[in-house]
Amino acid sequence: MIGGLFIYNHKGEVLISRVYRDDIGRNAVDAFRVNVIHARQQVRSPVTNIARTSFFHVKRSNIWLAAVTKQNVNAAMVFEFLYKMCDVMASYFGKISEENIKNNFVLIYELLDEILDFGYPQNSETGSLKTFITQQGIKGQHQTKEEQSQITSQVTGQIGWRREGIKYRRNELFLDVLESVNLLMSPQGQVLSAHVSGRVVMKSYLSGMPECKFGMNDKIIIDKAGKGGVTNEAGKSDLGGGGSTSGKQSIAIDDCTFNQCVRLSKFDSERSISFIPPDGEYELMRYRTTKDIILPFRVIPLVREVGRTKLEVKVVIKSNFKPSLLAQKIEVRIPTPLNTSGVQVICMKGKAKYKASENAIVWKIKRMAGMKESQISAEIELLPTNDKKKWARPPISMNFEVPFAPSGLKVRYLKVFESKLNYSDHDVIKWVRYIGRSGIYETRC
């Protein structure tokens, strides 16, 4: 298991060092600094073996987190733990920076003592951690016995992510369907690969221990329901802004993963998503689709080399969704060669600028309606070089945000049952919104 955990700043100075196992000595701290942080070469692997000691590292801005071991540990678990560690720290004190880490080092040690025991990850749910790691040491003394045992049963319990006795005056929940659409397109407009990775993020402000059931237009469920003739549920529930009606086409989900609150065995057998939600914001599920994706934009590049010192670039973007919808924060990034000396840009819409430091022309459009088209043309002057290597022509990338789910996913219902308290599904105020963002949205040129 994990033998030790170190946090370094960008200079390689150690900020946090916690050793869990006897086989990890102090020299391990230096070994990582010398061989990885101070290494001349770019990092070639997130796992490094130095003198029979393995180092796993992740980087968050300037900060290096390294887990060390001498055993054959579960590598996936170590990385998952490191990410979790980052999440926990971020939820306690915000951004992971040298400043924040130094300011909270006592807290971090306390957390490290709690969430990792002898190198075995323990409960790492922020919700429950915050009930007893508070940085107000004296509090422990004032807790009643009931409170204490409530904490421990939550930390170790089946529903470690939610505590009992939560009360809200108004029961409310928010569902965000956040999708990032990824595309790799050939210069000829052929889709080389495209997929949507989506997340359903839920913010729940519900009293008690509510039992929730979530439904979407997943093909398999709809097909099942269609056979059984049970479609009434979907029709009745109104979720506000989503505008989903049953009978609309269903989507094929390639794969999905769920927050640990979801009963996986139930999903496996009935494909129903039921759970007791954590309080506050969390990610309910992630999913991936590859079929029938709505690609919100199409980029048509035209790059022409005029002699050795000039490039002519023309890029057309076409929006491909309902004209009534508006895309926002559109940004097209057209890479330019390293030896660019000057750029002239003309664009019909938005603003375009050549950014020498980023080696790219950045074209920004605030808003664009569906089924529209816009164009930019640029002349790039090049310095003559004797560099024989051809310019690698990085792909043209794009960023945007659209108010629909490119995968076509629709939320059909989210039902809340709380038998002990006197509120019903109808009393809960529910909100849904869909946001489609660009993931890696690239067109080769």
Binding site: M1, E13, S17, Y20, V29, V47, N49, R52, S54, H57, T69, N72, N74, A75, A76, F79, E80, Y83, E99, K102, N103, F105, V106, L107, Y109, D113, D117, Q122, N123, S124, F132, Q136, G137, G140, Q141, Q143, K145, S149, T152, S153, V155, T156, G157, Q158, F174, S186, L192, S193, G240, G241, D255, C256, T257, F258, Q260, S265, D268, A392, R393, I440
Partner: protein, 971 residues
């Protein structure tokens, strides 16, 4: 739509901005902890001591924080031990935790003082607050001092049975800690049994921690039956699996993976209960579940419906892992690499997800590339090639190299794509980017190996880049190409000679390759390269410290001096097939790694014993054997390594460990050795004692011979059968008979190389018409039809004058003789040797290629008799540089008979002169392309050796003409 305002972050930044203000104050709140990192005053320890002993609680706490900060940055603050321990008795939980942290770090260096802390621990273990009880037992386990561990036993025993699950789960881990310090003590105290009982605990987290602790302890006692896994306990684990935290699920799944189900039914039921985990958000849970499934799947019969369902279920979660953070993607990709080797069917349709993204970190890119090649097939090759070509223009050198190499591997793997791969590689060579060229040459060499006589036209392009090669691997590859195709490269000797200059500075692989290549060259062009071969042999045997090189040198030397024909057989023998897949992990290792999916072993692709010290992980894990549903309940662990999961690789393929090139280069040697072994049986004098004496290094030599068959067991049949059976026709030119005399037919294309079609034949000139006389034999089981023939461009423009007349289908074991008239008006390209002819024969099965050499006398036309005056003038006119002299030995004809015999082959005697008992015959020859050759033959009565001088404007033909003379006169 209304949204709750996010004021949290705004608040947070406000908070931060306060920090600098507070920094100067002596007692800050927790937000100013960073100041502890900056104290570097002299006398600091002294000051801290005072502060630690202060009466004020706040001051004490500040001091402890400073101590911890110093400890973190690596300062030695062990001198403060008693003072810090004094702070332990406190109500403040935060302070207590800090002191414990200090204790864990320094207790070992101050064991006597550490005893002072024991009382507090024991007391804390009785505390009413479960958090404090757990904290005490957790910390005590981390203090590795023998004296303390004795005191630990009683509190631990209590905590293991504590009413609070939080304490129990902490105590469970503490048993593992204690075991690490003193294993005997744990056994004596009976903690292991208590731990086993915890597996049945009502709280899932306690179960999970108990499983983790037991698994760890069991690992250091490989033979103990600690984790007594039986269907009942497995059932308990599977129940807990649904309820515990993500980490607990990992512990349980990893533990489950060590279990071997009794039969396929149990295996299936476990699989069914594990599959829901594939939808977990935690990648480690998913990978551990995949491990269990991959392992237990071994036991399921393949015809079972469930088996297919399971295979289908595995693909989506594996693909989803690729949308995780890059570090996890890396771990996932390394594992997918294993899974694809073990069960390629799972991901065969998922090629696209492994396409490289521009912004992927380099380690992800390289791994994706590896998997792309493994998944490449005829169905997706076009897409893959397009991608690879794209990658070859990227920036990262390693990545580009790998992409170029991948193109070559595609060519070898998917035959239909070979042509496109070669042309892509040629395009890349044109870029002249040094490392791209080198990498391309390395892979083109492999392509030559795989598809002989198909793409050699690119050799010229390769030779252009000879000077830019500076890496050993590329140099070795180029040398191999030059040696292998020496007969087609005019200046092969010069090229190789240029490499020879810095022989001792070259790396071993280049030296070995150079040695072999020059020997090949010598065997192909013996006359011009004698010096060169001498030189390389002496360099290799006398001036080298490398035993491999010396040995190889001696073998060649001995071979060449004993029996050049045998040498030819050995060195130029048919090469065994090269494997389609490269870098395959050896099957037993692969099985072991499959059992370690998700772990470091699977990331390194090495067994745990390779990187873990001590007893842990030394035990090798194996996949379970497949059992029938009824039988095989007793010992599922026996004899499975070679069993159900044997590799599907064909036996004729070379086991390739590591890098493809290494194999290919070394092939030459083992092939040689194999042949020598066979030959030594035929001709025992070759290995007679004198050999050992000569070499002086006989033990090494002997070892080399002995080792050969074990090195290359699979290749034995290929080179031996082919090498001995079908002696190279390259040598045919030496003894080619001529003229009216019809030379015996030689086998040009052996049946084993042409799917059962055997072709033998010869050339003749009949009534001014050149004819190729072929004998086609069908040695296959099926009927052959649709024969056609085509020639490659050749030196004299030979081309079939009509189609190949095989009108009736050729049945099995049937033979047909065909005579094919040839014209000399086809396209011309200079060949090496000049009279080499590359032929393609097609039938309904395939296209086959072979090359043969024709006697140049075939091309001597009937009107080749020159006028005397013209002869004289021409003789004078041709510069003396163009004259070459040869000896014809052991010819017992007189000048008259010789002249007559030569006339039959259109070599005309124009004049005869006798000077001092020596007959001088002046002769002329005209080739079909109009080249005149003039000859002067000296025949001395009683001397069987003739001297012949040849003059020609195209001196290249002289050698061939001389061979004709020799052949005609001797037959």
């Amino acid at each position: 739509m209304k949204w709750r305002k996010k004021y949290f972050s705004a608040c947070f930044y406000l908070f931060l901005s306060l920090v600098p203000l507070q920094e100067n104050r002596q007692f800050g709140s927790k937000m100013t902890d960073s100041k502890y990192f900056t104290t570097t005053k002299k006398g600091e320890i002294f000051e801290l001591k005072a502060e630690l002993n202060s009466d004020k609680k706040e001051k004490k706490k500040e001091a402890v924080k400073k101590v911890i900060a110093s400890m973190t940055v690596g300062k030695d603050v062990s001198a403060l031990f008693p003072d810090v321990v004094n702070c332990m008795q406190t109500d403040n939980l935060e302070l207590k935790k800090l002191v414990y942290l200090y204790l864990m770090n320094y207790a070992k260096s101050q064991p006597d003082m550490a005893i002072m802390a024991v009382n507090t621990f024991v007391k804390d273990c009785e505390d009413p607050n479960p958090l404090i009880r757990a904290l005490a037992v957790r910390t005590m386990g981390c203090i590795r001092v023998d004296k303390i561990t004795e005191y630990l036993c009683e509190p631990l025993r209590k905590c293991l049975k504590d009413e609070d699950p939080y304490v129990r789960k902490t105590a469970a881990v503490c048993v593992a800690k204690l075991h690490d310090i003193n294993a005997q003590l744990v056994e004596d105290q009976g903690f292991l049994d208590t731990l086993k009982d915890l597996i049945s605990d009502s709280n899932p987290m306690v179960v999970a921690n108990a499983v983790a602790a037991l698994s760890e302890i069991a690992e250091s006692h490989p033979n103990s039956n600690l984790l007594d896994l039986n269907p009942q306990s497995i059932n308990k684990l599977l129940t807990a699996l649904n309820e515990c935290t993500e980490w607990g699920q990992i512990f349980i799944l990893d533990c489950l993976a060590n279990y071997t189900p009794r039969d396929d039914r149990e295996s299936q039921s476990i699989c069914e209960r594990v599959t829901p985990r594939l939808s977990h958000a935690n990648s480690a849970v998913v990978l551990s579940a995949v491990k269990v499934l991959m392992k237990f799947m071994e036991m399921l019969p393949k015809d079972l419906d469930y088996y297919g369902t399971l295979l289908k279920k595995l693909a989506p979660p594996l693909v989803t892992l690729l949308s995780a953070e890059p570090e996890l993607q890396y771990v996932a990709l390394r594992n997918i690499n294993l899974i694809v080797q073990k069960r390629p069917e799972i991901l065969k349709h998922e090629m696209k997800v492994f396409f490289v993204k521009y912004n992927d970190p380099i380690y992800v890119k390289l791994e994706k590339l590896d998997i792309m090649i493994r998944l490449a097939s005829q169905a997706n090759i076009a897409q893959v090639l397009a991608e690879l070509k794209e990658y070859a223009t990227e920036v990262d050198v390693d990545f580009v190299r790998k992409a170029v190499r991948a193109i070559g591997r595609c060519a070898i793997k998917v035959e239909q794509s070979a042509e496109r791969c070669v042309s892509t590689l040629l395009d890349l060579i044109q870029t002249k980017v040094n490392y791209v060229v080198q990498e391309a040459i390395v892979v083109i060499k492999d392509i030559f190996r795989k598809y002989p006589n198909k793409y050699e036209s690119v050799i010229a392009t390769l030779c252009e880049n000879l000077d830019s090669l500076d890496e050993p691997e590329a140099r070795a590859a180029m040398i191999w190409i030059v040696g292998e195709y020496a007969e087609r490269i005019d200046n092969a000797d010069e090229l190789l000679e240029s490499f020879l200059e810095g022989f001792h500075d070259e790396s071993t692989q280049v030296q070995l390759q150079l040695l072999t290549a020059i020997v090949k060259l010598f065997l192909k062009k013996p006359t011009e390269t004698q010096e060169l071969v001498q030189q390389v042999l002496s360099l290799a045997t006398q001036d080298s410290d490398n035993p491999d090189l010396r040995d190889r040198g001696y073998i060649y030397w001995r071979l060449l001096s004993t029996d050049p024909v045998a040498a030819k057989e050995v060195v130029l023998a048919e090469k065994p097939l090269i494997s389609e897949e490269t870098d395959l992990i050896e099957p037993t290792l692969l099985e072991e790694l499959i059992c370690h999916i998700g772990t470091l072993a699977s990331v390194y692709h090495k067994p745990p014993s390779a990187f873990v010290e001590g007893s842990r992980g030394v035990m090798h894990k194996r996949l379970p054997a497949r059992t029938g549903s009824g039988e095989g309940t007793e010992c599922p662990d026996v004899g499975n390594a070679a069993g159900g999961s044997a590799p599907e690789a064909a036996p004729s393929i070379i086991p390739s460990q590591g890098d493809l090139l290494g194999d290919l280069l070394n092939l030459d040697l083992p092939a040689v050795l194999c042949n020598i072994l066979i030959m030594s049986k035929l001709n025992s004098s070759l290995l007679s004692p004198q050999l050992g004496g000569d070499i002086g290094g006989s033990p090494a030599m002997g070892a080399g011979f002995g080792a050969a068959p074990t090195v290359m067991p699979a290749s034995l049949n290929a080179p031996v059968g082919g090498g001995l059976g079908d002696l190279f026709d390259l040598g045919g030119g030496v003894g080619m008979p001529m003229g009216a005399y019809i030379p015996p037919k030689t086998v040009w294309l052996p049946a084993m190389k042409a799917k059962g079609l055997e072709i033998s034949g010869t050339f003749a000139r009949r009534a001014g018409v050149i004819q190729m006389e072929l004998v086609l034999t069908n040695k296959a089981m099926s009927v052959m039809t649709d024969f056609a023939i085509q020639f490659n461009r050749n030196s004299f423009g030979l081309a079939p004058a009509g189609p190949l007349q095989v009108l009736t289908p050729l049945g099995p074991n049937q033979t047909i003789e065909v005579s094919l008239p040839l014209s000399t008006v086809g396209p011309v390209m200079k060949m090496d040797p000049l009279n080499n002819l590359q032929v393609a024969v097609k039938n309904n099965i395939d296209v086959f290629y072979f090359s043969c050499q024709y006697p140049i006398s075939m091309l001597f036309v009937e009107d080749g008799k020159m006028e005397r005056q013209v002869f004289l003038a021409t003789w004078k006119d041709i510069p003396n540089d163009n004259e070459s002299q040869f000896q014809i030995q052991d010819c017992h004809l007189n000048s008259e008979a010789a002249s007559n015999k030569l006339q039959g082959s259109n070599i005309f005697t124009i004049a005869k002169r006798t000077v001092e008992g020596q007959d001088m015959l002046y002769m002329s020859i005209k080739l079909s392309n109009g080249i005149w050759v003039l000859a002067e033959l000296k025949v001395q009565a009683g001397n069987p050796n003739y001297t012949i001088s040849l003059k020609c404007r195209a001196p290249e033909v002289s050698q061939c003409v001389f061979q004709c003379y020799e052949a005609v006169l001797k037959n």
